[in-house]
């Protein structure tokens, strides 16, 4: 979307004491109104609504939870501000593309935005994110799992407000694990689950498609083996030191190849994304998969719709992400959403206040239950309602404590894009892949090669 709403002096929107003008439409009905309408309304209608500033929150698509939170916080603000939401594209890359283009043009219609962690350094380094005052930073990080704080931090400063934290767990069919004699109470390794699945003629699901999910998987493998994709100088494109040739990365490549070329991998492994993994796991060949918590809600939804036997989700078990090294804890992937406050927002203070409201423990619990997205505050996992809807909540919490973010760098799209190009298809990955990827990424960052 290239439309840039007309800009106007900030004071027109910020002051509360202006005489009331004709009332603009207050809320947008329905998601169909879309981004253009919502942002235009916010941009032109700010002076209306009796002087109540409207904050526009750019959200990633969900099951309606964020729109509900916006309404709740509007009520809680008691007339000091109102929040309207605008929906971003489905995939994280598309969300980033739209936000970056708008922010690069100093779009004042964005106040709050739902950001995927890997893009936070890029936004912060470009000066797109408003500073978060220390007292606010202290309040919004209280009781938040470590991984989520790390994901929202750049240059030792908190630059976004942690909202929800996602992680992958190892989903297994209880019947398959039992038949294979695997004790799922104990940590398992990739070798063990591949062997068990091969013996039972079942699938091991992972994300082998050429997409962001491939970087997520590789990063988890490398971090589990004790390495990192970027070792040094993440902010300097000419001097960035990549850890793709380290022993840990070589070991990670070995595991990736083992999974992708085993009989337990789906025939379409090189195009398998999260949804395809979940579909395979729901089928009668389902054995194991690494995937986000949404797969459980998805299976329950399929049962309700009548397309899946009720016995299938009952057979679902969840354990912490598989290990690479049997003696070292795994480092599961870290995802989720943090709230960035736009540096071009005319109402930064109110936006910060709204972000605090949205990320309150109560609202995170609601969002967890309603949309299936795990909270970033640890206390939410003890909420009885959460425990009832998500029997796997304790495993998710344990995984979040172990989770490691993807490389934090303003040049993330080059790093991830380079990895996706060289590490795909995963079945062709070998001990030389890391070096090839490191060479490509360095050349791209120096400006010597295309991506």
């Amino acid at each position: 979307m290239t439309e840039i709403p007309g800009q106007h002096p900030p004071e027109r929107r910020a002051t509360a004491a202006r005489p009331a003008r004709s009332r603009a439409p207050r809320r947008l009905a329905g998601a169909a109104a879309g981004v253009v309408l919502a942002s235009t309304l916010a941009a032109c209608g700010g002076g209306g609504s009796g002087g109540v500033p409207t904050l526009t929150w750019y959200t990633n698509p969900d099951s309606g939870g964020q729109a509900e939170l916006a309404a709740r916080c509007t009520d809680a603000a008691e007339g000091r501000y109102r929040i309207s939401t605008a929906v971003l594209p489905r995939d994280a890359a598309g969300q980033r593309e739209q936000l970056v283009r708008r922010l690069a043009a100093s779009d004042t219609s964005i106040d709050i935005m739902s950001l995927d962690p890997p893009f936070i350094p890029e936004f912060a380094a470009a000066g797109f994110l408003a500073e978060i005052p220390e007292d606010v930073a202290e309040r919004v990080t209280e009781g938040v799992v470590q991984g989520a704080i790390e994901g929202a931090t750049w240059d030792d400063e908190l630059v976004a407000v942690p909202f929800w934290a996602n992680t992958q767990v190892l989903w297994y069919r209880k019947s398959v694990a039992e038949a294979a004699g695997l004790d799922m109470e104990e940590p398992v390794t990739w070798e063990q689950i591949v062997q068990a699945a091969e013996e039972q003629g079942k699938l091991v699901g992972a994300q082998g498609a050429r997409a962001e999910s491939l970087t997520v998987w590789l990063n988890a493998l490398i971090e589990s083996a004790g390495g990192s994709i970027i070792e040094e100088n993440a902010e300097d494109p000419a001097d960035i030191e990549l850890g793709l040739t380290s022993d840990a990365a070589t070991r990670a490549a070995e595991v990736m190849n083992l999974v992708a070329s085993s009989d337990a991998a789906s025939p379409a492994f090189s195009t398998e994304n999260e949804d395809a993994s979940a579909t395979g796991f729901e089928s009668e060949n389902g054995g194991f998969q690494v995937n986000y918590p949404f797969v459980y809600a998805r299976a329950l939804g399929a049962v309700e719709a009548g397309s899946l036997e009720a016995s299938v989700p009952e057979d679902y078990g969840a354990a912490v992400y598989p290990r690479v090294d049997p003696d070292e804890p795994a480092a599961p992937p870290l995802g989720g959403i943090s709230l960035g406050i736009s540096a071009f927002s005319p109402d930064v203070d109110l936006a910060l206040e709204a972000a605090e409201c949205i990320t309150s423990a109560e609202n995170q619990a609601f969002y967890f239950v309603n949309d299936g997205n795990p909270a970033s505050k640890a206390e939410v996992f003890d909420d009885p309602e959460v425990l009832e809807s998500f029997p796997q909540a304790p495993v998710i919490r344990e995984s979040l404590e172990l989770a490691k973010p993807r490389p934090q760098t303003p040049y993330y799209s080059e790093v991830s894009g380079g990895i996706q190009r060289v590490y795909h298809p995963p079945a062709s990955v070998d001990e030389n892949t890391g070096e090839a990827a490191a060479e490509l990424i360095s050349a791209v960052l120096r400006g010597d090669q295309l991506l």
Binding site: E97, V100, A104, A126, R210, P267, A268, S413, G417
Partner: protein, 320 residues
């Protein structure tokens, strides 16, 4: 037997028109022409010339959208980087391959459909035309998704319907390899744009003078002789215009690749390369350079067609 076309007819000049001088009347006509075409001309300048010039200017810089402070003039370096990168040549190869395959198949299919449309019984002609045109009315992204779902290993029906073809089984992953991915991409493109080419050819068919056909029939020419000696030579201009338009269109292929493979397995086209640099990486300079090269390729193709094959755009519109 030689090819039979009508001799070109000179535009009838008014006998009284003085030579070499422009009359007042044609002066004012010329003025009116400019007044009528002027606004459209200005709009075209604004929406095409301006972006092209801006892209050309920006292609001379190393410029990242998120880092405007470090914008730096690098001359032709971006072009050097692109032209010395195998990725560019590979993308160009893929683009040319898709263009040649789709345009060739579409020309044959489209000609067949045009014949069907022109010969169909009068009563069913509107229905036939509408049916043939439907794919062209479908948005490319939607058509790409439809084809992707059809061939997908989980949701598709192709694997189970066509399992009798050697090499196709329930486990065939169409988007897992270069060849099969390109096959599906080409199929989707052909399905989608054949109606366009057949519509242009239908217009060409209508231009073939009925007198010539009848004369050939009286002389005892067979159907095939009439086709190759009368119909096709008279349609040459229409065929070349259809080919030119479709080639330029096919060369910019993007949507199907974006939806179906995301550029995996070496299926990236030149447009996709421009998208990746400009939109994903935000490298405006490098991306603009790719776009300019894409533009030059398109200009080159158009020039080849018009000069090389002597395509006369005016005659295709029946102006002469």
């Amino acid at each position: 037997m030689t090819q039979t076309t009508l001799p070109p007819v000179e535009k009838t000049q008014p006998v009284s028109a003085p030579h070499g001088k422009i009359s007042d009347r044609s002066k004012s006509e010329r003025k009116l022409g400019w007044l009528l075409a002027g606004p459209a001309f200005l709009v075209m300048l604004g929406v095409t010339a301006y972006p092209i010039l801006q892209a050309t200017y920006e292609s001379l810089f190393s410029y990242r959208l998120t880092d405007p402070a470090n914008r730096e003039f690098v001359g032709l370096n971006n072009y050097l980087v692109i032209l010395s990168d195998t990725l560019w040549w590979q993308a160009l190869g893929v683009t040319l391959l898709i263009t040649v395959i789709t345009v060739a198949v579409e020309l044959v299919l489209g000609f067949g459909l045009a014949l069907v449309m022109s010969k169909a019984l009068k009563s069913i002609r509107p229905v036939v035309r509408a049916a043939i045109l439907i794919p062209y009315a479908v948005i490319t992204v939607v058509s790409a998704f439809a084809w992707q779902f059809a061939f997908d290993i989980n949701t598709g029906f192709v694997n189970s319907w066509f399992a009798w073809i050697p090499g196709v089984s329930a486990d065939t992953d169409w988007f897992g390899e270069t060849g099969t991915s390109l096959l599906v991409i080409c199929l989707a493109e052909i399905w989608k744009t054949t109606p366009f080419i057949s519509l242009l050819l239908l217009a060409g068919l209508a231009q073939v003078p009925e007198v010539l056909q009848e004369a050939a029939k009286v002389d005892g020419a067979t159907w095939w002789q009439r086709m190759t000696k009368v119909t096709l030579p008279n349609m040459k201009a229409a065929i070349m215009v259809a080919l030119l338009f479709r080639t330029l269109d096919a060369f910019r292929v993007f949507d199907s690749i974006f939806v179906m493979t995301g550029g995996a397995n070496n299926t990236e086209s030149v447009s996709f390369l421009a998208y990746r640099q400009t939109i994903s990486r935000l490298e405006i300079g490098l991306g603009s350079a790719v776009s300019v090269l894409l533009f030059l390729s398109v200009v080159l193709i158009a020039a080849l067609f018009i000069k090389g094959f002597k395509v006369d755009l005016a005659s295709a519109r029946g102006e002469r």
